[in-house]
Symmetry: none
Subunit: 194 residues, 4 copies
């Protein structure tokens, strides 16, 4: 990775943090620059607008999440086990790199106007969605999961996990998030099983 690419990535990482913490509109370019000990002007040498930066950040995030799901997809285990592993990895990321999940939920999903131009449809999140699709379709094929519309399953999976992280973020959950892994995995499996 070139020096310039490294710097781009460090900008994205800080941006994920600040955007997810304070929101897209409340995070200013000077905020980001300052967090990087970098001048505002120079930041624009790497991303030509705040929107482009936000879009590149969601692509980066989506690819990261996708790669983690892929690691599970390629394992030779049952769908039930995969579901549990996906829940685990999702919550692990939510704990270790909360900015990624939060960015997904609070910035990407909620600021349509920011992502409309460069990210219409699922253009910027295909890295992630594709892996979920692969998981689901192969589990249907193997007969472990019921054959239903993909989006019925996707909405369940992602809405559920996202919802839990939201509740956690709001400090509403009485327990640590890991506490719910078993319940959630079972619920999802029961909902989708053949």
């Amino acid at each position: 990775m070139s020096k310039k690419e490294k710097k781009r990535e460090s900008i994205i990482n800080i941006s994920l943090e600040l955007f997810s913490k304070y929101g897209f509109h409340k995070t200013t370019i000077p905020d980001i620059a300052k967090a990087l000990n970098m001048s505002v002007g120079n930041l624009y040498n790497y991303f030509k607008s705040k929107e482009i930066l936000a879009q590149d950040a969601i692509i980066y995030t989506s690819n990261y999440l996708g790669s983690k799901i892929k690691d599970i997809n390629i394992q030779d285990i049952s769908a039930k086990e995969k579901i549990k592993k996906i829940v685990e990895v999702y919550f692990k990321i939510a704990q270790d790199k909360p900015q990624m999940i939060e960015y997904f939920l609070r910035v990407y999903l909620s600021n349509r106007e920011v992502f409309k131009d460069g990210c219409s449809g699922m253009a910027c999140v295909s890295g992630f969605v594709t892996e979920i699709m692969i998981f689901f379709e192969s589990a249907v094929e193997s007969g472990e999961l019921r054959d239903q519309d993909f989006f019925s399953a996707f909405g369940l999976f992602m809405g559920y996990l996202g919802g839990m992280v939201f509740l956690k973020g709001e400090d509403i959950l009485p327990q640590e998030i890991d506490f719910y892994i078993e319940d959630i995995s079972v619920n999802i499996y029961n909902a989708l099983k053949a």
Copy 2:
């Protein structure tokens, strides 16, 4: 309802529309005033800040949704039927008054800083959450649903439905939302049943 209360409500309704469509930060007070054929100065006679307006709007929305769930809760039907009715009513509101669901998902859930002061915890959404809790606990008591942590169930319910409306809003769903009612109701019931 007094004339003043009526005007307050009409302001909230327009605000729900504009906030949900353009986002909290992209919607300006002059925008709202213009949509109401009203001066900005006068608007401040009804709500003393933009944040207060947003907070009152979520309370209004939560109460509305809660009252609809209550209508179902008081019926003498099985938990399975209630689940289906809740899904139906949620999607019906998403179609008839999309600003309400969208406001919930895209404004309330994603702009923590706006709601932090007046709506911490679930202070502004208790009208809705309480009814879901009543539904769940009575169904557990009657033995129809498995006894598990409420939030495991709540996250499933609300994350799932919200997720589907998100996907619809992004124009990603290949079918009308009603198409998914059956699948979703079954999935939720399977996930939660005893």
Copy 3:
């Protein structure tokens, strides 16, 4: 004239001064606001962009110049006399309200990008050009001036007068500008006479 219209006009007048003195790009909105003892934000209540302000300013100028030429056009005097009066009035304005002529020459004529959108062709200067056209065509009709393409005559008239004011502005002219009125009037008349 309403209070708001009066303020609009005062903004235009100051803008003519500053734009003509320092150029469009070197004059900032804060400069204009400060010169008017007015806040930047409020200035935008009157003109919604710097470009719109510049465009309104050229329309205002063009109409003013046009009205002065019209006063001459309606007089019952020879074309030769009208030419002299036009030269006189042009130079008088150049002395009394130099910002107008300078704005025309240094801002309007030289910043195509600024006027492209709202002032294409002669949309914003028709007030002035029309009166010159009326002068020329009626003088041709009466047989005093040679019948030739209007723009050959217009270019002579306006290029010449503009050129002289330029030279004056550059402090190149060894004499006061009034000194040249006679020579110039004669030259124009000789150039155009039948």
Copy 4:
């Protein structure tokens, strides 16, 4: 011409194009560098500031125009013929190298602040003005043109030609510019003849 001088000239030529097309302030140093496939840093090895570049460009342009007028001045033909040839050569340059005339009219004449320091008076355009002066004074001496203040004649000549090119640039002229050569030459001669 050394390699360095050649590069200097190529920078000037591109700058004439960009400055005349987009204006001095809207043309950036990176724009110029990119058009030359050259780094900004290196460009500063040739011209130590944007203003110096603009000033050198007007000197270059003025000398070029002057040399063309000189070619006419040294011919043994009447003043009337010289006038026509000057008009022709001016319009020919306006067609073949429009950036030069446009630079003169739209950049040099209209951005006083840029040229104030290095080009006061006619310091940077003497190459051109001197040749016009030589033309005029020798034609007066030979009795062909009326003896009048030089600037009365210069303003006519240059204002007129500049005005026509302006009109052409604005797409206002209904005819090709060559169409006007005859009319204009006659008008100028009539205006100035003894």
